[in-house]
């Protein structure tokens, strides 16, 4: 079990939707750029790590009930995507780390 505040510290991340609850907990992490795989294989309440920043990510994450989305490589979505996430109460995070490093840190569960 981990919460968003701990994930932010591990990933040296930035919270893109400041109004969300950093105490929100999740038990699983799923990493993919394929939204088809997210829809087919991700469990509800999972933290999604992805390099895609389009509106389809927020839509997919919302419909598949992800706990939150982390964008890797310092990517930032457009204002439209941020608004969409806020409307869906979906927390968005950004990390400067590449996908592999982000996954490794989440797997280890501790900062480097």
């Amino acid at each position: 079990m981990m919460n968003l505040k701990e994930a932010l510290e591990l990933l040296e991340g930035t919270l893109l939707t400041p109004e969300c609850d950093l105490g929100l907990e999740f038990t699983r992490v799923f990493a993919s750029d394929l939204m088809s795989d997210v829809l087919a294989f991700m469990d509800a309440g999972t933290l999604l790590i992805t390099g895609l920043v389009n509106t389809h990510v927020v839509c997919t994450a919302g419909l598949a009930e992800a706990a939150a989305v982390v964008f890797v490589q310092g990517k930032r979505p457009s204002a439209q995507v941020l608004d969409q996430a806020r409307a869906n109460k979906l927390p968005l995070l950004s990390t400067p780390l590449p996908m592999f490093e982000a996954c490794a840190r989440m797997g280890a569960g501790r900062p480097k």
């Binding site: 394929l34 088809s36 509800a44 895609l52 389009n54 389809h56 839509c59 419909l63």
Partner: protein, 147 residues
């Protein structure tokens, strides 16, 4: 005589309109939530309808999604005016896809759509005629344990 226990609503979907992809499924999910559907049943309906909506957007000129809700089940049927599916058995194979590079760049077209709709539904019927279009109907039982 109108059966008040049955709710029915149709949504048009425009082929190629990636900017509005998912809106119909989001609307249906919110509506189902208001009707007291929740948990895994709601999630399965949302995921299956989104996959079906994306298929219309990716492959067809246009389509219609019809949502029917009864006390027993959620039924979603999709009729599209698209190229049709020449080999349904092949299309049902996980990983088989005819998606374009543009669709894949958006994160879709991995060949999981139809199998995933089947996985998330309790009944699944698919008929298609090449050159005419495709008809898909699936149901999710409201008291079902599901996958």
């Amino acid at each position: 005589m109108v059966d008040e226990r049955i709710f029915r609503h149709s949504y048009p979907v425009e082929g190629g309109d990636f900017s509005h992809a998912g809106e119909v499924s989001c609307q249906m999910k919110n509506l189902l939530k208001e009707m007291g559907v929740n948990g895994q049943i709601l999630r399965r309906a949302a995921i299956a309808s989104f996959e079906a909506e994306m298929n219309v957007i990716m492959y067809a000129a246009s389509g219609t999604v019809e949502l029917t809700v009864t006390p027993e089940e959620i039924r979603i049927s999709i009729v599209d005016e698209g190229p049709g599916i020449p080999d349904i058995e092949l299309a049902m194979t996980e990983g088989y896809s005819t998606a374009t590079a543009e669709m894949r760049e958006l994160g879709f077209g991995a060949g999981m759509g139809l199998p995933n709709i089947k996985k998330n539904s309790d009944t699944f019927r698919l008929q298609s005629k090449p050159g005419l279009g495709t008809w898909l109907e699936f149901t999710i039982r409201r008291n079902g344990a599901g996958p």
